[in-house]
């Protein structure tokens, strides 16, 4: 190990880098997620492009100092476009031995390692499974290690305050943040302002954290422990107003936008479940924006209430994760039969069963497509990134309303919690969402008499005189009467399917995301792998390789023209998925093309390098 001693005299040299990847790790109670978010937002405000990966345990506060209790947060900020939190970190802050042990493999060789040396006592070392201090052994060789007594300096910094020792210690994350701000030339002001807002009612906490943040910054400056100060310039993002946004907040905001653009009341019926809960939390603050929320007794009640609200003329929405989606299947069948707009948001997590509840995965595609009894088709969409959640919710709502159908939108834990700069749309730039309620008894010919263009049935609000009618789960004829007629059933099954298939003409056709049609390899993706795939494709192309990529936001129906593109590339297609190949199976069956899957089921997103490596291998093999 090369323990770094303070640089001597003069100002520290500054180095401009294109991107920086930082990883923070500590106990669940160490405020890691909060520190990470601050760093992200500060970087975004500084004009960088940013991508983040929060990574926390399934326990609220797993026992301090243990390996399963480690909470992590990685972010990448850059002066270029950034699509992932990065593969390996340039700098790691480890608040205790367990955090070090769990995260060291994620640090680049030669990377900066800041450790809270106060936490490396015998007890913590033992809990982390070290029989000696790594600070004194060989395992840290090859890293630039900075042992700092973060706890003790934080306490010193707060000596004059009245806080309890425990409260003081809870500020130590801001010390580390201060050091990082200095190291990466970040301004303190956004964080200070945030502290004032956050602790408006507890100014003593705002003050303490500010003190500690400044102490960390000053310590880095005056103690001169770092050899270099890094600078990361503005990223060339498209012009506009930006904010930092995670996927679940994007979903909630989109619901407000949908309410605004459609004039409908949005009714979110939900039951808390990780990692979807924050959709409910954030939507709970949107009452003034036309979004009502209802925390139901379970997932079935949540979707039931949402469907009831849609019947009543609102836009019903429900948000959940895999186990909840499994429970909603029967009610979704009713929604298909009732042919009402309904938005079902599934934020996927590691399964099966309770699985890895705080980790990410893409293994709920199958159940989204097929998880209902009978012939029960329903559009399925997937968001590609945190910001894309906003657009896809909007799009899903538009389709649900126009085509009178429940729609499933898939997100996942990675983009739900991950944040990125988001270009804030101006309300006037949002497309309108036209809504038509049938009100005229004269022209009403039956609850299931379909619109010629879309195949949608009329939507009638209860309370409309003369249009009283009944819908429900039994098969109906066009007039809305229960019908056991065999031919009618077949006709209705086909009509429902045709309606969904017809949505193909209402969505953008398939097109390449990167590259050209003639390239040697096509990488296809859906959902949150978009960032890693796009980044990998760009990097491979920069290296002169003929690789293109295509991203699917619409999984049912699939976009027009997809078959042609895939057939053109058959045998030269790579499909990375965080599952055992669910989309691969769908595309092979549908288009009869040969696709190679890249499977990863570890609760973690792809690294760019993993995709690049497999792509290179395929290119070599087919050459």
């Amino acid at each position: 190990m090369t323990s770094q001693s303070p640089s001597q005299g003069g100002t520290t040299p500054r180095q401009r880098v294109e991107a920086a990847i930082i990883r923070l790790a500590g106990d669940s109670g160490d405020g890691i997620q909060l520190t990470g978010s601050r760093m992200s937002e500060t970087s975004a405000l500084a004009g960088n492009d940013v991508a983040t990966l929060p990574d926390y345990p399934a326990e609220i506060r797993a026992p301090a100092g243990t390996l399963p209790g480690v909470s992590g947060f990685q972010l990448q900020f850059a002066s270029k476009s950034v699509l992932t939190p990065g593969d390996q970190a340039d700098a790691l802050v480890a608040f205790n031995p367990a955090a070090l042990r769990v995260n060291l493999s994620g640090l680049k060789q030669g990377g900066i390692l800041i450790v809270n040396s106060d936490a490396f006592d015998a007890n913590n070392l033992r809990k982390a499974g070290y029989d000696h201090s790594p600070l004194e052994g060989h395992e840290l060789e090859g890293f630039r290690v900075y042992p700092v007594g973060i706890t003790s300096i934080t306490r010193q910094a707060l000596e004059q305050t009245d806080l309890s020792l425990r409260a003081k210690d809870r500020c130590k994350n801001f010390f580390a943040l201060g050091m990082l701000y200095w190291l990466y030339s970040r301004p303190l002001e956004p964080t200070l302002e945030w502290l004032r807002r956050k602790f408006a009612s507890q100014p003593e906490l705002a003050e303490a954290n500010e003190k500690v943040l400044r102490a960390g910054y000053n310590y880095a400056e005056t103690a001169r422990i770092f050899q270099t100060v890094y600078e990361v310039a503005h990223a060339p993002l498209p012009a506009g107003l930006y904010r930092s946004l995670d996927g679940n907040e994007a979903i909630a905001l989109a619901l407000a936008a949908v309410a605004h653009q459609s004039g409908l009341q949005v009714f979110l019926g939900s039951y808390p479940i990780t990692p979807a809960s924050t959709v409910l939390h954030r939507a709970g603050r949107l009452k003034a924006h036309g979004v009502a929320t209802f925390q139901a007794e379970d997932e079935i009640a949540a979707v039931g209430a949402a469907l009831g609200a849609s019947f009543a003329g609102a836009l019903g929405v429900t948000s959940t994760s895999g186990p909840g989606l499994a429970l909603k299947g029967e009610m979704l069948g009713l929604a298909v039969m009732m042919e009402l707009p309904l938005l079902v948001i599934c934020v996927q997590r590691g399964g099966p069963s309770t699985g890895l509840p705080t980790k990410t995965e893409q293994a709920d595609l199958d159940i989204a497509l097929h998880g209902r009894h009978g012939e029960c088709p329903m559009p399925v969409l997937a968001a590609a990134s945190p910001g894309d959640c906003f657009h896809m919710v909007f799009e899903a709502a538009r389709l649900a309303i126009r085509h009178m159908t429940p729609v499933i939108l898939l997100s996942d834990g990675y983009i739900a919690n991950g944040a990125e700069p988001f270009r804030v749309p101006a309300p006037e730039d949002l497309p309108p969402i036209p809504v038509h309620f049938h009100t005229d008894p004269e022209t009403f010919r039956g609850a299931y008499v379909r619109d010629a263009a879309t195949g949608a049935r009329p939507w009638v609000r209860p309370g409309t005189p003369g249009l009283e009618h009944r819908v429900g789960g039994l098969e109906k004829d066009a007039q809305g009467a229960v019908s056991y007629d065999p031919e009618n059933h077949e006709q209705m099954v086909r009509a429902r399917a045709a309606k969904i298939e017809g949505i193909e003409s209402d969505i953008p056709p398939a097109s390449l995301e990167e590259g050209e049609a003639e390239d040697d390899l096509l990488i296809v993706g859906w959902g949150s792998t978009w960032g890693a795939i796009t980044q990998a494709t760009r990097e491979l192309r920069q290296q002169g390789l003929k690789v293109s990529s295509l991203h699917l936001r619409y999984l049912q129906p699939l976009p027009g023209g997809l078959g042609e593109i895939l057939e053109q590339h058959s045998g030269r297609i790579l499909l990375p998925e965080l599952n055992r190949g669910q989309l691969r199976e769908v595309l092979s069956a549908r288009y009869g093309v040969t696709i190679e899957g890249l499977q990863k089921v570890q609760g973690q997103p792809f690294r760019v390098s993993e995709i690049k490596a497999r792509a290179r291998k395929m290119l070599e093999e087919t050459r």
Binding site: R243, F294, A296, A301, A305, P462, V471
Partner: protein, 338 residues
């Protein structure tokens, strides 16, 4: 809501005209009759009614009413109805369910609707059997019942539906029977007047799979000794010419005694408005042979309706918060890239 004067309805205005497909002789016919009659008299525009049901013979109900309606999935009617009521509190939302639909698969939604006090009017047709699936025992079937699924007799004790509702905090519970058309109509009217959740157990005969289940209650002769009608402020008298009455012993134990001109201080005088629910609870599980079965309103106490609180919060937010979408989308901190 229409602002026109409310039309006056006849019973048949509430008939959808769809052929009613219950078995001939089924108690559901009389309930349909009573509901149509009661609705017609309510002075509510027909288009403001929504009837929501689950699955079962009873749950076919909405098809026969010329109102808005949903024939839902098994046990989940209260969830659909809650969504409707929250989205559109001005609608009159009625739930029709069965003892299986409401208390087997749907028990949880029912108790949560009671707890929240959502303004749903819930009619549970209790025939103590699963009719539509051809006669299995239900959670209200008497212990020892021999049915298709229990050839040696069922072994579980039944729920008392009203006790379950009261245990969940119900603010209005009542009991009536298919055969007692006028009483049934009155209970419907009372439920409609209650703000918040109202739960009515309707004793119903399934003449195919559980014929005579309520014979002791509805039989012309039997009912005299086996029914006590609850009337606000009145002592609980029953039997031939009201010659018997219910008292509460010191230890809190109820007992049926001879009527002694009201002289006994232990005589139970019915008060449906008592905030403390234990007396309603006590009444809810009295049953023959030891006691008469109470029919009428057991409890009717005021409490804020869930939908009112829901919209009150929305109104408060609308008054105190900005509804500027641009501001919302931008959030507290933004930056501009030129």
């Amino acid at each position: 809501m229409s602002s026109d004067p409310v039309p006056t309805y006849k019973k048949k205005d509430f008939s959808s005209g769809l052929e009613v497909r219950w078995c001939p002789g089924c108690g559901d016919y009389s309930i349909l009759n009573a509901v149509q009659t009661a609705f017609a008299a309510m002075g509510v525009p027909r288009e403001n009614f929504v009837i929501v049901s689950g699955i079962g013979c009873s749950s076919r109900f909405p098809y026969y009413m010329d109102t808005y309606g949903i024939h839902g999935v098994h046990g989940r009617a209260p969830t659909l109805a809650t969504g409707i009521k929250l989205a559109r509190p001005e609608l009159d939302v009625w739930v029709v369910t069965g003892d299986g639909d409401g208390l087997a698969i749907g028990g949880n939604h029912l108790i949560h609707a009671m707890r929240r006090n959502v303004g749903l009017k819930i009619l549970m047709f209790n025939n103590r059997i699963y009719g539509l699936t051809k006669g299995q025992y239900s959670p209200t079937s008497e212990q020892g019942k021999v049915t298709a699924s229990t050839p040696l007799g069922s072994i579980d004790p039944p729920f008392q539906p009203l006790s379950v509702a009261l245990g969940a905090g119900a603010t209005f519970v009542a009991r009536t029977a298919d055969r007692f058309g006028k009483h049934l109509q009155e209970m419907i009217r009372r439920a409609a007047c209650h703000r918040g959740a109202a739960f009515i157990e309707v004793l119903q005969n399934c003449n195919i799979f559980n014929n005579g289940a309520w014979g002791q209650i509805t039989g012309k002769q039997e009912r005299i000794d086996n029914v006590v009608y609850l009337e606000q402020g009145q002592p609980l008298r029953f039997g031939e010419e009201g010659r018997r009455a219910l008292i509460l012993e010191e230890c809190g134990q109820p007992r049926a005694v001879e009527w002694n001109d009201g002289g006994d201080p232990r005589l139970i005088v019915h008060d449906e408005t008592r905030p403390e629910p234990s007396m309603a609870f006590l009444l809810s599980h009295l049953a023959p042979p030891e006691f008469p079965l109470p029919l009428g309103v057991l409890r009717d106490v005021p409490a804020p309706a869930f939908e009112d609180l829901h919209h009150e919060q929305i109104r408060r937010a609308e008054q105190s918060e900005s509804n500027d979408l641009a501001e919302l989308l931008a959030g507290p901190s933004t930056w501009t890239i030129e």
